[in-house]
């Protein structure tokens, strides 16, 4: 029933149906006062309903003039838009390669792995790398870091920021570019200043924050990455009602996807790992269940291969499945070198 699709309250819908208005076309030629009289509601309410109904019917028109569907883009336009948005580098060349250049803006990327893999390190590295100036191939933007576990170490951010600036200065020296701007004037404190840190202590706060982000980002338009570390934590303990959990998580996922699309920013969700009984054996899999697996656009799994850290693209609409080694050093995430191995418990 067409009237059933309108975003109006249940009692208004009930009144419309009992008065005999079931299709949108039946509402199209009515005036607000007539409708008000029929349904026994106020004129304002009737005007609201008619406004909503007319919006609904416009979407269904087969020939609407300029656009077939409101708000759609052609694939060609999208391709050009993609080229305009640079990707956020991870500072590890191999990892950037399998990601197609880096973390993509306008998409939600989920990164998961066992404890100790370097998920928080990767999150911090991205929060720093998004601030690389446009002249050096970065986005020159700010970052939002949402911490649910309390694993954000400010000293580490400082270390990674200093290393990033060092790399940029080195690059400056090597290329001998004569920018009018001259020397790199960034200081690690500038980088720290541009990371907005939220500490979330319960799942209610997490939902509230996800709702609030839209407003926050409209006020801080230069934020280009939102990192949630980790999205799982508050949903894993003490959650008896699994159906509720699935609903809440899908709500969060949808809002984050909308955020990414509307504001053109990258959303990075860090996830934990759990064991699952598949095909007769226990295997590791990312937490939060099967329904959550559908919520993210891209999925990267970090795992140990022997003594090296590897990243694997598990799911992506445009990237092929591939693995790449990376390492966590004092400077942050870098390319894997043969000496950077896991400390053996020997």
């Amino acid at each position: 029933m067409e009237v059933g699709r309108l975003p109006i309250s249940a009692s208004q819908r009930g009144k419309l149906i009992s008065a005999g208005y079931t299709t949108l076309s039946s509402l199209s030629s009515l005036s607000p006062s007539d409708l008000a009289l029929d349904l026994r509601i106020s004129d304002n309410e009737a005007a609201e309903i008619l406004k909503v109904a007319s919006l609904g019917s416009r979407l269904d028109e087969p020939e609407g003039g300029r656009a077939i569907v409101n708000g759609a883009q052609t694939a060609w336009d999208m391709l050009h838009e993609d080229e305009m948005f640079p990707r956020i580098t991870t500072s590890c060349l191999d990892l950037d390669n399998i990601l197609g250049g880096g973390i993509n803006c306008k998409e939600v990327t989920e990164i998961g792995g066992v404890p100790g893999m370097g998920k928080t390190q990767l999150g911090i590295q991205l929060a720093v790398n998004v601030q690389i100036p446009v002249d050096y191939g970065g986005l020159g933007a700010k970052a939002i870091y949402i911490d649910t576990e309390g694993s954000f170490m400010v000293e580490r951010v400082l270390q990674i920021a200093e290393a990033c600036i060092e790399d940029m200065t080195e690059c400056n020296g090597l290329l001998r570019k004569d920018f009018q701007a001259g020397q790199l004037k960034m200081h690690p404190n500038n980088i720290l200043e541009n990371i907005f840190y939220f500490r979330v202590c319960s799942y209610t706060e997490q939902i509230a924050l996800t709702n609030y982000l839209d407003k926050f980002i409209s006020e801080h338009k230069d934020v280009k990455v939102v990192i949630v570390d980790s999205v799982t934590f508050h949903f894993r303990q003490d959650f008896d009602d699994m159906a509720l959990r699935t609903r809440l998580l899908s709500g969060i996922a949808l809002k984050l996807m909308k955020l990414a699309k509307e504001h053109g920013l990258a959303v990075v969700l860090l996830n934990q790992v759990t064991t699952k009984y598949i095909e007769g054996s226990f295997q590791l899999t990312l937490a939060l269940g099967d329904s959550w697996s559908h919520s993210c656009t891209n999925r990267v799994i970090l795992y140990w291969n022997g003594n090296e850290r590897y990243a694997y693209i598990d799911k992506s609409p445009s990237l092929r499945s591939a693995s790449a080694p990376y390492s966590v050093t004092s400077k942050g995430i870098r390319n894997s070198a043969s000496t950077c191995k896991r400390i053996r418990m020997m």
């Binding site: 509720l244 291969n305 003594n307």
Partner: protein, 347 residues
Amino acid sequence: MANKLISEIGLPKSIANIFAARNIVTAKDALSLTEFQLMELLDVGWAEVTSAVAHISAIVCPPYQSALSLMEQRVKNEHLAGHLPTGLKGLDEALCGGIPFGVLTELVGPAGIGKTQFCLKLSLLASLPSSYGGLDGHVIYIDVESKFSSRRLIEIGAKSFPEIFLMKGMAKKMSGRILVWRPASLSEFTERLQQIKVSLHQNEVKLLVIDSMAALVSGFSRFGSIFKEIKSTISLALPIVFPKSLPLPSIANFTDWAHSRECEQGIPRQHPLGWHVSFIKSLAEFSRIPIVVTNQVRSQSSDEACQFSFQEMEGNQGGSCKIWFSSCCCFGSSLGSCCNNPSCSRG
């Protein structure tokens, strides 16, 4: 913040009344429903629901800070920007100053490596006056396995800081700041934790040590309580008589046996200490003190999960990955920072 009452949030009167009428009292209740569910329940339009939810979210949402102001705050207000130096130069450097405040630090290692000794030293360091690099505060030491030895503590103090400890009355003062508590059961531990939260501020507690977390799980199982009895009997140097009918293994591998019996019952859905770890973490953050817990190392049987599904397809490139897991392995992700004893050896 999650339990903030809707009535205190400052929504327009009309919608606040509707929330109350439908028994949605706290922000948590309201945010646990999707916008569509709220529309159905409250019988209001889309615009009203979204604006109410946005209002509630803006109030309940945690405040933000820039990472810079976070750092400056800690440098200004806390001892060494929020670290307790351990006195081990390499470790302090690696930890950017020492054991960090506000997070949970886990000491893991096989038996006999020195975890309890480390905890004793840390307790001492926290009780020292600030002129000697300490935190000048009280310490709560939760001793699950009855391993705390005050004689050893005084010995450590006298040897490491002779200038203070040999001064009159100082040994008494320093060790007087360390409160040792031995929980008899998991429920007692749970209860006491909540009391500790209240008393942290009042008593100027600067460090909390839990030795050990693994024992809380295995030690308090129905077999573990028997073991504790035996252990305390041993310390009294009384002879122990085993009745012939009781098929008890030798004391040495009792804990393993008890643990293996637990595992036979199937892998539990949620870890029994899940709530406790979250609570302790929040305790650490809220009071900005370091909390140190110790954990044991067990070997993992090779048929347990240690791979992702795509790894099996790729073939075992790195050979079978033998991972040393502690009994509380699922805490690894929930612990703020993990401290691996650098001189760990295969025992």
